[in-house]
Symmetry: C2
Subunit: 398 residues, 2 copies
């Protein structure tokens, strides 16, 4: 996989994209089995929506594979080049990580996205999706692997674990001699299972307790639009705002209108004592609320003394994912951007923008909530590592 | 620690360097306790040599701290900068990793080196050295932390674990909420202990089964000098050659003289059947030999059919650390450099050159044998991660 040419990889991606379209009936038929089981188990409508594959969604999956064709191949890129004191020419060259295992939950489109991303970045991949989507995942995998065989990609370079037993994941996580990286994407249970049992390096795609801080020098209309977008546009995502912080000087001016607008969008508010004095009929926020990723139309609100209190609150209660300050004060903004310890720190923009496509990376494996190797949106570059290539003329160590 | 200015960090480093010199008598006196215990335990002369602190070695430790002053501060460096499709200006900015735990064996100079590297890169550090060096490590730590206090560095930002019980390390390795990275530096036992029990991300500094491959188109004199250097100059290091591969066409010409020269340097040879036909009185190499890091004046030798066999042998038996090809054939060299899956791949140079100082990085935490985050020599840059700093003008997600 590491030695495939860019041209070959792009040809394969186009063929995979076509295979999905050609086999849409088979995939939809298999997906119906999962949908029937989900309904039998009384899973939530939101869950069933994520699980459902339509012809339009197959088109989107196919388009995502095609979109990878036009992205630059990260493999072989020279990241840095210099001459050592002894005259050796050293290059730091991008190479694939190797074998990546991805453990995810119910969305079957993740299956084809991950196969495409790993192929383009020269990695082998082992996929383990949620048991509720097992028939859908097997169908997508079958269609794509039949297309791969035509290009002599060795069987097993792209793999799907087709059992649903938990002990199989545990066995996988012990294979540190064979697997280079595990990426778990999901909720608390999945993340705990993987980090607790893995001997393989892990990059978590985990929760976002994201904040928007409305500073006293904010453009209040901009602040309102950003906060509304961060909470309401798609509340079930990791980059949605869970807590809104507001400077005490502007709280009486800002909060009533903001909260009214949020309530119109059916957002439930949980507030601190000061905010509850400013706006009536707000439920009290507990300490636990400030540590909760609601993934829902619920918002914690806290009035803060100043910038320092806002930064301290975010670093203490947040999940180091995405946090934003709204202000016209440049000094306050730089202080915030410097001291808030999060993967993405924003000035005057919505936390919802943390995303590979929005960042202009053209693709996304997900958003890393870890600090090492990849932080924030992970795309093709983040699926590579590097090696040092050194040219000498007989240099030895003296 | 993350917010210290470069100027402050450099002032502190100079003061730490001076403190070591001023307190050399105390450090040497405490080191003598460890030396007495080591002799009682009949530890090897090589071990005792590594453990010994002299006035000259304190000068070296002090100089290493001073050398960090002139190196660029990695924190705050803008790695990349671009404008997203929606107009946000995005920067990828280098920031410290956070809290790093370093678990190492008997060399007490590692204690001051690690404190200096973590300080300059803005990280907090927790040190756990080998029990045999406990008095020396405590003395060095005491001297340095007394100097740190004068600069109002919070107590605990630099820490040393002063107990020697194994269960304390296990407890440490479970603190994934508080520690961001563990770096174990040492042999098989230490590495297995750490990777088997850590819930914290680990970057291993582990073994090197390094190869030099003498291609049929090699300059034989250069090949001889490189192989001699890679094996003999300092055999106890991870970047020393453990296996020499020689093309069959040139083996009859190259091997006799090479092996004679190695034997003069007291190197024991273990050879494959073909090499034993070319040079008499060589002990047979077993499959296990080719997987062994001798760290000693012992060398495995194997005659190979061609480039392909050499590459396959290295990828199968090596440890993906450092491997070199000696050849005048540029095509063979590029094939080797591309397909050998090691942190450092050399053309016409000694594997002993894998080292932060030799690479011109000016410092070294050690050599990572892992694939993620940092591969090969780790210096200041590799002790950092990044965050995205994003400037908007009210952008929201549509």
């Amino acid at each position: 996989m590491a030695n495939l040419t860019t041209q070959d990889k792009n040809k394969i991606l186009r063929s995979l994209a076509q295979a999905l379209l050609d086999n849409h009936q088979f995939i939809i038929k298999e997906n119906e089995k999962d949908l029937r089981n989900a309904k039998k188990k009384n899973l939530s409508p939101a869950f069933i929506d994520r699980l459902t594959i339509t012809r339009a969604r197959i088109k989107t999956m196919s388009d995502s594979l095609k979109a990878l064709v036009s992205l630059p191949d990260p493999v072989g890129e020279v990241i840095k080049q210099w001459t050592a004191p002894n005259g050796m020419r050293i290059s730091r060259v991008r190479v694939p990580i190797g074998v990546i295992a991805i453990i995810y939950e119910s969305r079957p489109d993740v299956t084809s996205d991950c196969i495409g991303l790993c192929l383009k970045s020269g990695n082998c991949v082992i996929l383990r999706g949620g048991s509720e989507a097992i028939n859908s995942n097997k169908a997508i995998y079958k269609v794509l692997s039949q297309a791969l065989v035509k290009f002599s990609i060795p069987e097993g370079a792209v793999g799907l674990i087709s059992t649903t037993r938990r002990q199989d994941v545990r066995a996988l996580l012990r294979l540190n001699d064979y697997i280079d990286l595990v990426i778990p994407r999901g909720g608390e249970g999945l993340i705990r299972e993987v980090t607790g049992h893995s001997r393989i390096p892990v990059i978590k795609h985990y929760k976002g307790i994201c904040h928007v801080y409305v500073h006293q020098d904010a453009d209040l209309l901009m602040a309102e639009n950003i906060c509304y977008n961060a909470k309401v546009q798609r509340p079930g995502t990791c980059n949605a705002m869970e807590t809104m912080l507001v400077d005490k000087n502007i709280a009486p001016l800002f909060l009533p209108k903001m909260i009214e607008r949020l309530k119109e969008a059916a957002v439930q508010i949980r507030g601190c004592p000061i905010s509850r004095r400013i706006v009536k009929d707000i439920r009290a926020a507990t300490d636990k609320d400030y540590r909760t990723e609601y993934l829902d139309l619920i918002l914690s609100v806290k009035v803060v003394r100043d910038l320092d209190e806002a930064i301290e609150h975010i670093n203490e209660y947040g999940s180091h994912h995405s946090d934003s300050i709204v202000t016209k004060n440049i000094e306050a903004a730089s202080e915030f951007l410097k001291r808030v310890d999060s993967a993405c720190v924003y000035h005057n923009a919505s936390t919802r923008l943390t995303d590979g496509y929005q960042f202009g990376m053209g693709a996304e494996m997900g958003i890393s909530t870890d600090r090492l190797h990849a932080r924030g949106p992970m795309a093709l570059e983040e699926l590579t590592t590097y090696k040092y290539v050194i040219y000498g003329e007989g240099q030895i160590r003296i």
